[in-house]
Structures are given as structure tokens and as C-alpha cells.
């Protein structure tokens, strides 16, 4: 399967948006080479604002730009974008529903070497809790680009969680995309896996591994965490016989699992299990795969959860 880099897709899409709409501006906190916002700087130097290592100021500045009609995209590592500047996102940006786009780059554990200070295990929970915020977790480079184009029109603030590494492509470049899309990646009748980001590929591998055992996994890409497509989640949950798994590269507290189980709490549904990062910070590792395995974010973990649900049922 093809793999592509999501950061590169972000940077290229940002340039495309810049060509499409002169209102698009970009802000960066000295990580442009990594987030790939530097591509925008090369083409639109006057519309690119290097704000230095000062994320709080960058975020409120983006609010000011939005207040005079610009469409600011700010990028830095996810942990700083959402944590360091949380109050600015909450008050200056989200209360007045400003059209500010926050790109949290090197999200989750994907900055594997830098360790717990640089890995974001709680960014989705933080952003999901902010009223008015849209939260997007793209599965691949193609979906990242599609989301960026959708964000040009979409109103209100938005958070885009971008993985640092190359990820396999599931999304068709020709398929239309709209925020809220919750595509089924693979059909199956026994257990549904609601996943996003890197965990979609793990779920698909788990489905392959379970097929000889006669267990069918349905895999749904919940790349729009907020506003969650509740109808799609409930329909998928109702379509399986044995159980529900939520799989995410995020703390088990407050992220996708929280979102999915909140909307299922109002309806009768099969038993559920969560595959995510236990309530803990990350850790440095030599490689991304090694780190995902350390926290049990693997196809084997998803397959194990599915077997457990089937055995219990």
C-alpha cells in the first residue's frame, strides 16, 4: 500500500489554498520546516508570519487576523498548539467563533524520539471540550488535503491533528469530501472498529488477521471527531452483532472513545472496548512502531479485543 507524509500534504495544501484565496495567511512558531508551513512562506512571503517561539502570542495574533477578514492557518507541534495556547484558543478564538485553523503537527506519539514533553496524548480531549471547535484527525495524506480544502469554506475555529510520519493511504483522491464524513473502510458483521489516524491501518490489519478465524471486522474512519456524525456512529454500531471497539492514538480519556461512547450512551448498543493510550504521558523511543507497540496500539491489540467481544457474546 502507498504511504504518504501528512505534514507534506498539509504544507502543499496550504500553498494550494493560498493560490485559491488571498485571505489565507499562515503563522508559525519556528517549526515551519517540520510542520511544512515553510512551503507557504516560499510562495507567499508577505502572507507568512513567523511569530517566533511564542505560541500564545501566535494564537491571539491569528484571532486578530481573522477579525479583519483573513483566514489564518497556524501550525506548530500539537502539544504546544493545544496546551501552551489553550486559553488563547478558548477565549480569543473560540468564544467569538473565529475562522482560525490550528494545525497540531507531530501529533500523538508520532514525534517518537522527543518523548513525553513533545507527544500529545490529550490534545483531542482538550480541543473537543472547547465549544464551537471542529476537530479533525486525518487518516492519510489524501484526507489531510481534502480536509484543508474543506476548511477554507467551513465556518468557525478548527483543529487539524497531523501525524509526523508517512501513513498508508485509504482515501481516494477522486472521492468528494465533506467535514463530518465517517467513511466505512471495510465491511464486516461481527465487530465494528471506530478508529482514526494511524489506528485505521491497524484496524484493517486486525481485520485481515481475524478473517481466517471467521470473525468479521467492520472498520469506520471517524476522522471528524467533532462535530461527530452521531447518525453514522449509531448506524454502524447497530449493524454489528458482537461488539464495538474504539481505537485511537490518544489517551483513553476524552478523545474519540469519549466522543463515540457519549453518542452511543443514548441508544442500546453491543458491548464496547477501547484501544488507546492508558492515562499516562508518552516516552522516547527509537521508532514510531516500537512506541505504538509499547502502548498497545497495534493490530494484535485490536484483534485481541475483537476476540474477547466475540467470546463474551
Amino acid at each position: 500500500m502507498d504511504t504518504c507524509n501528512l505534514r507534506e500534504a498539509y504544507g502543499q495544501a496550504l500553498v494550494e489554498l493560498g493560490r485559491k484565496d488571498p485571505r489565507v495567511v499562515a503563522l508559525e512558531a519556528d517549526l515551519g520546516k517540520s510542520t511544512r508551513s515553510c512551503l507557504f512562506k516560499d510562495e507567499f512571503p508577505a502572507r507568512y508570519f513567523e511569530m517566533g517561539i511564542a505560541e500564545q502570542n501566535m494564537t491571539s495574533t491569528a484571532a486578530g487576523l481573522a477579525l479583519v477578514g483573513k483566514i489564518p492557518f497556524l501550525s506548530t507541534f500539537a502539544v504546544f498548539a493545544t496546551g501552551r495556547a489553550y486559553d488563547q484558543i478558548r477565549n480569543a478564538v473560540s468564544i467569538p467563533r473565529l475562522k482560525v485553523r490550528i494545525c497540531g503537527s507531530s501529533s500523538g506519539l508520532s514525534d517518537f524520539g522527543d518523548g513525553k514533553t513533545h507527544q500529545s496524548v490529550e490534545d483531542v480531549a482538550l480541543m473537543r471540550a472547547v465549544p464551537n471547535m471542529t476537530v479533525l484527525v486525518p487518516v492519510d495524506a489524501v484526507e489531510t488535503r481534502a480536509m484543508m480544502h474543506a476548511l477554507l469554506e467551513h465556518s468557525g475555529p478548527a483543529y487539524l491533528r497531523v501525524n509526523r510520519n508517512d501513513l498508508p493511504t485509504f482515501t481516494s483522491a477522486r472521492a468528494p469530501y465533506a467535514i463530518g464524513a465517517t467513511p466505512t473502510i471495510r465491511e464486516g458483521r461481527d465487530v465494528v472498529v471506530f478508529a482514526n489516524g494511524v489506528m485505521v491501518s491497524r484496524a484493517v490489519s486486525a481485520a485481515e488477521a481475524l478473517r481466517p478465524e471467521g470473525i468479521e471486522l467492520k472498520v469506520v474512519n471517524v476522522s471528524t471527531v467533532k462535530p461527530l456524525n452521531a447518525a453514522a456512529i449509531r448506524a454502524a454500531a447497530a449493524s454489528v452483532r458482537r461488539g464495538i471497539i474504539v481505537a485511537e492514538e490518544h489517551s483513553i480519556l476524552g478523545g474519540l472513545a469519549g466522543a463515540v461512547l457519549e453518542v452511543l450512551s443514548e441508544v442500546r448498543h453491543p458491548p464496547s472496548l477501547v484501544v488507546g493510550i492508558p492515562d499516562s504521558f508518552g516516552i522516547s523511543a527509537r521508532g514510531y512502531e516500537e512506541l505504538l507497540a509499547h502502548f498497545g496500539l497495534t493490530d494484535a491489540a485490536i484483534a485481541g479485543a475483537a476476540r474477547k467481544l466475540v467470546a463474551a457474546g
Partner: protein
């Protein structure tokens, strides 16, 4: 209008602003009397002299903008916007009610004439900078005014923003520091002293102009000097008295957000009536 007439008009506006502040607060604990009344002349000069703003079209793209970074003093801004006819006068009695348009801190969604959401301290200058960058991109020659409090200067973001204003040479940003020397817990020198304020801003690349913050004439010329500074931003350091105009509240930290008893409320009206207006 001659200068003396203009000064008299601005003094009258400042008096009306204080009257509106007192009307809104009433008895009880409805608002920040101290930090709002220290701003009366500053806000009067900005809205009734310096800023280009058509009260009938407060969304005009070419308007000057005012961001109140010390958002807790928003009563001063409401008071002026009522005098401009931007906020309906009857809203004053509905301050901080769920049906009213006047929130406890500036909320651009609910209140006409308010340009941003501020109140979480330290963010206003950054927002002003963003506006200034966008306006410059569009070739719109508006100025962006931002009022900071001296207590607020302990927020680190203020200094991040100060560096950015200078870095981007945003000479169409004018900051006004309401240097009233008192914060919520007491005098700034006893609470969290920030010495050498002018030198600090100068070191961050700003031109500083000092003025008596209760003298309209001094404020007008300081704002004019600030606007004339090219290639770097300028700040008017306005020396003010917290609680100005209300005898019991002047220089008294208790009235940062203190309770107005019936007795104090009546005293405040007597103080207002006694002041020239």
C-alpha cells in the same frame, strides 16, 4: 471647535462616562469601579477625538479599532458607546443579565462596538497586532488602539506581543498603558512590582510617551505624537488614579471590584455632582 472648547467637551464626556459607569454598577457588586473610572478620560479622548469611527457604521472596514486588553474595565467602554449611541441607553440597567447585551467582559458577539473577546489578561496586544498585520496586507490605513493595565503587564504574553509589534514594525498600533498602580490585591509595588516600565518598552523597540491620563489635552497630544512615530510602535503611558472621581475609591484596591453599599453609592453621586460637568 477651538482647543479649549474641545478640552471642555472631552471633560464633559469623561464625566458622562463616569456617570454611566456608576449608573451601571448601582449598589452591590456589579462591576469594576476602580479600573473603569481610571480610564474615563482615555476612553473619552479616543472615542470623541482621536479615533476615526462612525457611530452609525461601527463595522466599516476603514474604522480605527479599540481593543480593551484589560477587559474587566469594559464599563468605561460601554459608557462611551452609550454616549455615542452605539449601545442603547436602556441596556445599562441590564448589565450582566442573561437577556442584556452587556456582559461582564468584552464580548463582540453580543455588544455592538466591541471588537474582540478579551478579559483573560495579556491577550489584547496580540489581537491588535493580528488586526494591524491584516489591515496592512489590505492597504487599509486604520489605526489599532489597545489599552493595557499595569497589573496586566505581568502576563508573559504581553511581552511576546511587544516583541512582535516591534519586529513587524507595526507603527499603526498605539498601545495605551493605564498606569494606575493598583491591582486586585493591592498596590502594584507591594503585590508584583514591575519597575522601569518605560525603559522596558523602549528596550523592546517601542517609543514611549508619558502623559497625565486624566488630562484630555495631554492625552490628545500624546496620542498624536504616538501616531506620528514611523517604523516602530508607540505607547502612551498614561498616569492615572484608580477609582478617579469617586472619593472613597481613589487609590483604593478594595474598589478594584468592591461592593458599593447604598451609603457609598450615594457618596459616589455626590462626588459626581460636585465635579465640574
Amino acid at each position: 471647535m477651538g482647543e479649549s472648547e474641545q478640552v471642555a467637551m472631552l471633560r464633559r464626556k469623561a464625566w458622562l462616562i463616569r456617570r454611566n459607569i456608576l449608573t451601571m454598577i448601582g449598589t452591590g457588586k456589579a462591576g469594576h469601579l476602580g479600573g473603569s473610572s481610571s480610564l474615563a478620560e482615555i476612553v473619552a479622548v479616543l472615542y470623541f477625538h482621536t479615533m476615526r469611527l462612525d457611530p452609525r457604521d461601527v463595522k466599516a472596514p476603514g474604522r480605527d479599532r479599540l481593543i480593551l486588553s484589560k477587559g474587566h474595565a469594559v464599563l468605561a467602554q460601554y459608557a462611551a458607546l452609550v454616549e455615542l449611541g452605539v449601545i442603547p441607553r436602556e441596556e445599562m440597567s441590564k448589565l450582566k443579565t442573561v437577556d442584556g447585551m452587556l456582559q461582564g467582559h468584552p464580548d463582540m458577539d453580543r455588544t455592538p462596538g466591541i471588537e474582540a473577546v478579551t478579559g483573560s489578561l495579556g491577550q489584547g496586544l496580540s489581537i491588535a497586532n493580528g488586526m494591524a498585520l491584516g489591515l496592512r496586507l489590505d492597504g487599509i490605513p486604520s489605526r489599532v488602539y489597545v489599552i493595557l493595565g499595569d497589573g496586566e503587564l505581568s502576563e508573559g504574553q504581553v511581552w511576546e506581543a511587544a516583541m512582535a509589534t516591534a519586529n513587524y514594525r507595526l507603527d499603526h498600533v498605539t498601545a495605551i498603558l493605564d498606569l494606575n498602580r493598583i491591582q486586585a490585591s493591592g498596590p502594584t509595588r507591594e503585590t508584583f512590582e514591575i519597575p522601569h516600565v518605560a525603559e522596558k518598552w523602549a528596550a523592546f523597540g517601542w517609543h514611549c510617551v508619558e502623559a497625565d491620563g486624566h488630562d484630555p489635552s495631554a492625552l490628545m497630544s500624546a496620542l498624536e505624537e504616538a501616531a506620528g512615530e514611523k517604523g516602530r510602535p508607540a505607547m502612551v503611558i498614561a498616569h492615572t488614579v484608580k477609582g478617579k472621581g469617586f472619593s472613597f475609591a481613589e487609590n483604593n484596591a478594595a474598589f478594584h471590584n468592591g461592593i458599593l453599599t447604598e451609603e457609598l453609592y450615594q457618596q459616589a453621586w455626590r462626588d459626581l455632582e460636585a465635579a465640574p460637568h
